[in-house]
C-alpha cells in the first residue's frame, strides 16, 4: 500500500460526476434498443376485492399490441418464500406473493395484467380496453383491528406475520423500584421514498437465449426471482444494474424485473417498462407506519431502570421485508442506552393498505422517535438536563445490549451531541408569536445485514500489463458513489492514481456477486472485499519484486507505478508485472469478504447478537414555531455521526446532509395517506417532500473513531444519517412551545391543535 493516505479521507470528486453534470449518464429509461416494445401495468382500483371477470381480448386485438399477459400466462405466478429467522410459533411463516392478481386483489394498485406494444401510446390505449369486474370483499385497514381474531384475513388464518421479543431482567420489579416512570404512545407515518428516478428497465433475450435485464435496482440478485417465476435456470437470466437516480430502499424489492422478464420471454423482443410517478405512489412499497407504546423508568439520579414496549407495524397486504424491518425495530428499540430490564413485544400485521418494506433506516428509525421522546420526558420529570440524563446511560464499548450483544466499537455519542449542539451557535431570540426552541436526539443504527444471514461479498482485482487496475464487483451504485469508493480503496492499496483504476460493477454475469446495496452494507462489505483482493494483488507483486530486488517483501511498497524498497530504491511496476506473467503468477485476485457469522435465531425472543456493529450519532435543531399558525421553520440544523473513517469526505457529508433532509421530511411533513386503502397522495403535488425552501443549511459533522468493521476502520453512514432527525425536531418544538407531538409528522395542523385544544 502507498505509505500515506492518497485517496482515503479526501474530497476527490468521483470520475462519474463529470458525466452526471454533462447529462451523459444513461439511466435505465434512457436506454433503447431497435424494435423495442413499451410496456405498461394494468393495476387494480380496489383495495380488497375478488376479480369476477377479466377481459383482455379487446386490448390484445388492438393494432400495435404485442401481448397482454394475465396471471394465467405466468408460469409460476404464486411464490412462497420462507422468511429467514422467523419462528415456527408465529402465525404465517411464509411470505406469499403473486406476480399478477389471480383472483383476489389485496391492495389498491396491485398488478393485474401486463401490456407490451409498439408505442407507449398503443400500450396506454390497451390499458383502457382491459375490462375488469370486481366483487368487493371486506378489507381491514387498521393494524390493531387486523390483529383481532375476527378480522378479515389477508392470507391464511392470522394477520400477524411476524413477532419478535426482547426479554431481559425483571421489569415488574424494576418499575416498582423506579422513582419516575413515563408512558406514552407514539405514531409514525407511512413515508414514500420519492426517489426522483422512477423504477425502470429494458429487457431482451440475447443470441444465447439469456434474458438480459438492464434495470435500476439495488439488488442484481433478483435474476433469481425472474428465473423462478419463469421456471428457467438461474443461469439464463442476467441483470445488469444501471446507475440509479436514487433509491433509498425503494429499489430493493423486485420492481420491473419480473414483469420485464415475462414480457421479453413471451415476445422475444426488447421491452422497456418505466413506472409513472402515480404508479410509484400506489404500486410501490413504503416505510411502515408504526404504533409504539413505551413505558420507561429511571431512578431519581437518572439511571434507566426498565423499559417496556409494544411495537406494531402495518405491513400492508404482502409480507416483503416486514419481518426483518420489525427485527431491526426490536433490537434497536432501547436506543443506544444500557437498560438492565427490558420487555419488548413487536408485531407486524397485514392489512389491505399499500405494501410496506425497506426504506433507509429500516425499522430502526421509527423506534428512535419513541425512545428519544421518552428520554426527554424522563429528563423533564427528573428535572434534569436531557444531555446529562443521556450521558448517564449511553452504551459504551463492551456494554451489553438487550439482545445480549456486546458493543465492539467505540461509542462517540457524548462527542456527537456536543459537536451537533455546538454547531448551532448562539441561540436566536423569540419574538411575538414566533417562539424559538432547541432540541437534539441520539441514535444508533446497525450497518451490514443480520449476522445470521452469513453475508458475503466478492470482488476481483487485477493489474493490466501497463500497471493500471481493473476492479470487478457486483455492488450497484444508487447514487451514493459506491463505485467511486471502491476505486479509491483499490487506488490507495495499489499506489495508483484514481484514474488508473477502473471499476466494473453491478452485472450478475460479469462481476462477482457482492450482494445488495442495502442495509448500509455496500462500503462495509464490498469495500472490505476490494481491499482484500487489492492486498492479495499487492502481495503477488511484492513477492515477485522481492526476488528481483533481493529484499524481503515486507520492505516493499507501491507508488506511482514503481515498487519501492524502504531504502528508496525502486523498479517499475510494469517490469514486475512482466516477471509475474513469466512466472505464471498473475497479479489478480478474486476475494470474498465474510461478515461476522452467527447462528440463526431459534426463537422469537432475540437473545443473541444480530448485527456486526452499529453507527452512533446525534442530530440537533433550532426551530421557530409560530403559535398562531403552527408552522415550524428550521433555523439551524446539525448532524454529527461517527462514521469510523471517511473514505471520501464529500460523499460522507452528502450522506449526512441527505439523510437528515429525508429525516426532516419524515418528522415534519411527509405522510402517504390512504382512506380505507384508497391512496390520496400518489403524486408529488399531494405528497410533499422537502424543497430547498423547507430546509436550512444542514451542517454535517464527521467523527472518526476508526473503530468500525469496514475498510480502514469505517462504519456505515447511509442509514444512520436519517435516524435521529424526527425526535430532534420534536424535542425542539417542545422546547419552543411546550407541546410534545407524539404523532408525526409534526404538521402545522397537529401543532396548532396541540397548542389550542387541550384535549389532543
Amino acid at each position: 500500500m502507498a505509505k500515506e493516505m492518497t485517496y482515503i479521507g479526501k474530497r476527490t470528486p468521483g470520475l462519474d460526476e463529470r458525466d452526471k453534470v454533462l447529462g451523459n449518464v444513461i439511466y435505465a429509461d434512457d436506454f433503447t434498443l431497435p424494435d423495442m416494445l413499451y410496456a405498461r401495468v394494468f393495476r387494480a382500483t380496489k383495495p380488497s376485492a375478488l376479480i369476477k371477470k377479466l377481459n383482455v381480448e379487446k386490448a390484445r386485438n388492438l393494432p400495435g399490441v404485442a401481448c397482454v399477459l394475465t396471471a394465467d400466462d405466468v408460469p409460476n405466478n404464486e411464490s412462497i418464500s420462507n422468511v429467514v429467522g422467523q419462528t415456527t410459533e408465529v402465525g404465517l411463516l411464509e411470505a406469499k406473493h403473486q406476480v399478477l392478481v389471480k383472483n383476489r386483489v389485496r391492495y389498491y394498485g396491485e398488478a393485474v395484467a401486463l401490456v407490451a406494444a409498439d408505442t407507449i401510446d398503443a400500450a396506454n390505449r390497451a390499458l383502457e380496453l382491459i375490462e375488469v369486474e370486481y366483487e368487493e370483499i371486506p378489507g381491514v385497514f387498521d393494524p390493531i383491528a387486523a390483529m383481532k381474531p375476527d378480522a378479515p384475513k389477508l392470507h391464511g388464518n392470522n394477520n400477524i406475520i411476524a413477532q419478535w421479543k426482547l426479554r431481559k431482567g425483571n421489569i415488574e420489579k424494576a418499575f416498582a423500584e423506579s422513582d419516575v416512570v413515563v408512558e406514552n404512545t407514539y405514531r409514525t407515518p407511512r413515508q414514500e421514498h420519492a426517489h426522483l428516478e422512477p423504477e425502470s428497465g429494458v429487457a431482451w433475450v440475447d443470441d444465447m437465449g439469456v434474458i438480459n435485464i438492464r434495470s435500476a435496482t439495488q439488488v442484481i440478485e433478483h435474476y433469481r426471482d425472474v428465473a423462478a417465476v419463469l421456471g428457467i435456470p438461474q443461469s439464463m437470466v442476467r441483470i445488469e444494474g444501471t446507475i440509479m437516480g436514487g433509491a433509498f430502499g425503494g429499489k430493493e424489492d423486485v420492481t420491473v424485473e419480473v414483469f420485464l422478464g415475462l414480457l421479453a420471454w413471451k415476445t422475444r423482443k426488447p421491452v422497456k417498462l418505466t413506472f409513472s410517478r402515480e404508479e410509484m405512489g400506489f404500486g410501490r412499497q413504503k416505510r411502515h407506519p408504526y404504533i409504539l407504546k413505551y413505558k420507561t423508568g429511571a431512578t431519581k439520579d437518572g439511571k434507566l431502570t426498565a423499559m417496556e414496549a409494544e411495537i406494531i407495524s402495518d405491513a400492508g397486504a404482502y409480507v416483503y421485508l416486514s419481518p426483518w424491518v420489525l427485527l431491526y425495530s426490536t433490537v434497536h428499540s432501547t436506543g443506544p442506552y444500557f437498560i438492565p430490564n427490558v420487555k419488548v413485544d413487536s408485531f407486524s400485521v397485514l392489512t389491505n393498505n399499500i405494501m410496506t418494506s425497506a426504506f433507509r433506516g429500516f425499522g430502526a428509525m421509527q423506534v428512535a422517535f419513541a425512545y428519544e421522546s421518552q428520554m426527554d420526558e424522563l429528563a423533564e420529570k427528573l428535572n434534569m438536563d436531557p444531555f446529562e440524563l443521556r450521558k448517564k446511560n449511553f452504551l459504551k464499548k463492551g456494554s451489553e445490549t438487550a439482545n445480549y450483544q456486546k458493543i465492539t466499537s467505540d461509542v462517540l455519542l457524548k462527542e456527537s451531541v456536543e459537536k451537533a449542539l455546538g454547531a448551532l451557535g448562539e441561540k436566536s431570540t423569540s419574538s411575538g408569536s414566533k417562539k424559538i426552541g432547541r432540541g437534539f436526539a441520539c441514535s444508533w443504527q446497525s450497518y451490514g445485514r443480520m449476522t445470521y444471514l452469513h453475508d458475503t461479498s466478492s470482488a476481483w482485482v487485477g493489474l493490466e500489463l501497463d500497471g493500471s487496475a481493473v476492479v470487478r464487483s457486483g455492488i450497484p451504485d444508487l447514487g451514493g458513489g459506491q463505485r467511486e469508493s471502491l476505486r479509491a480503496i483499490a487506488a490507495q492499496i495499489l499506489g495508483l492514481k484514481i484514474e488508473e483504476v477502473h471499476v466494473i460493477s453491478t452485472d450478475s454475469q460479469v462481476t462477482p456477486l457482492a450482494g445488495t446495496v442495502t442495509a448500509t452494507r455496500a462500503l462495509f462489505m464490498s469495500g472490505n472485499a476490494v481491499k482484500l483482493a487489492s492486498e492479495n494483488v499487492l502481495n503477488i507483486i511484492t513477492r515477485t519484486a522481492s526476488k528481483m530486488l533481493k529484499v524481503s517483501a515486507e520492505d516493499l511498497y507501491l507508488r506511482d507505478k514503481l515498487v519501492y524498497t524502504s531504502g528508496g530504491e525502486s523498479i517499475p511496476l510494469v517490469k514486475v508485472i512482466k516477471e509475474c506473467a513469466a512466472e505464471g503468477s498473475m497479479p489478480q485476485s478474486l476475494a470474498t469478504y465474510k461478515a461476522p457469522f452467527t447462528d440463526p435465531i431459534k426463537t422469537d425472543v432475540i437473545k443473541d447478537p444480530v448485527f456486526a456493529d452499529f453507527t452512533f450519532g446525534a442530530q440537533a435543531a433550532e426551530v421557530e414555531v409560530d403559535t398562531e399558525t403552527g408552522i415550524v421553520t428550521i433555523l439551524k440544523y446539525a448532524s454529527a455521526q461517527d462514521i469510523g473513517q471517511a473514505i471520501n469526505v464529500n460523499r460522507a457529508e452528502g450522506q449526512i446532509e441527505g439523510g437528515a433532509a429525508q429525516g426532516i421530511g419524515f418528522g415534519l411533513m411527509e405522510d402517504y395517506l390512504e382512506e380505507k386503502g384508497v391512496p390520496l397522495t400518489w403524486n408529488l403535488a399531494t405528497y410533499l417532500i422537502p424543497t430547498s425552501k423547507d430546509l436550512p443549511d444542514i451542517q454535517s459533522i464527521i467523527l472518526e473513531s476508526k473503530s468500525g468493521k469496514g475498510p480502514f476502520g469505517a462504519k456505515g453512514v447511509g442509514e444512520p444519517s436519517i435516524t435521529a432527525a424526527a425526535p430532534a425536531l420534536v424535542s425542539a418544538i417542545y422546547d419552543a412551545v411546550g407541546v410534545r407531538i407524539k404523532h408525526i409528522p409534526a404538521t402545522p395542523e397537529r401543532i396548532y391543535w396541540s397548542l389550542h385544544n387541550s384535549d389532543t
Binding site: P13, E17, V21, G23, D30, L196, A685, I689, S692, D697
Partner: protein, 158 residues
Amino acid sequence: MDGKEYYNIKLIVNGKEVKGSVAAETSLLDFLRSKNYIEVKKGCDKGDCGACTVLIDGKATVSCLTSAIQAQGRKIQTLKSLGSWDKLDPLQEAFVKHEALQCGFCTPGMLMTAKALLDENPHPTRDDIKEAISGNLCRCTGYKKIVDAIEAVSKGEN
C-alpha cells in the same frame, strides 16, 4: 392509425434544427427524449419535480407541461448547451467541486434553473438561490451543497 392528428414541427434545440411529427398533446419533454435528448429527465410528468427543466428563450421551464407545438420558433436549451467534456461550464465545474449531486438525476434540471437564475441575477443571495431552485426537487442531497455550488459561481470563486 389511432385517429389522432399529427403535426409536423420544427424546433431549434441547442442551436440545431430538429424536426418531428407530434400529436397536439405531445409534451416538449417527450418530444425531446424521443429525439435522444436524454439529458432532459422525466421525474413526474406533471410539473412537480423540475427534473425536465430546459430553457425556453432563456427562461427555465418545465418541459413536461409545455407542448412541443408551443415550443416552435423559440430557442430551446438543454443541459447539453452548457459545457462539453473538455470545457465544463462554471456551474458544472462547481457542481462537481462542491459535490452538489449524488445520483445526478435532478442535476440536469437543477443546472438549467441555476443557469437561468445567474443569467438574470448574477449576484443572488443564498435565499434567492433557494427560492429559484425550489421547484427542482432533489431527494439525495438536502440542497446545501447545491446552493454552495451556485453561490460559488456567483461570487466567481470557482
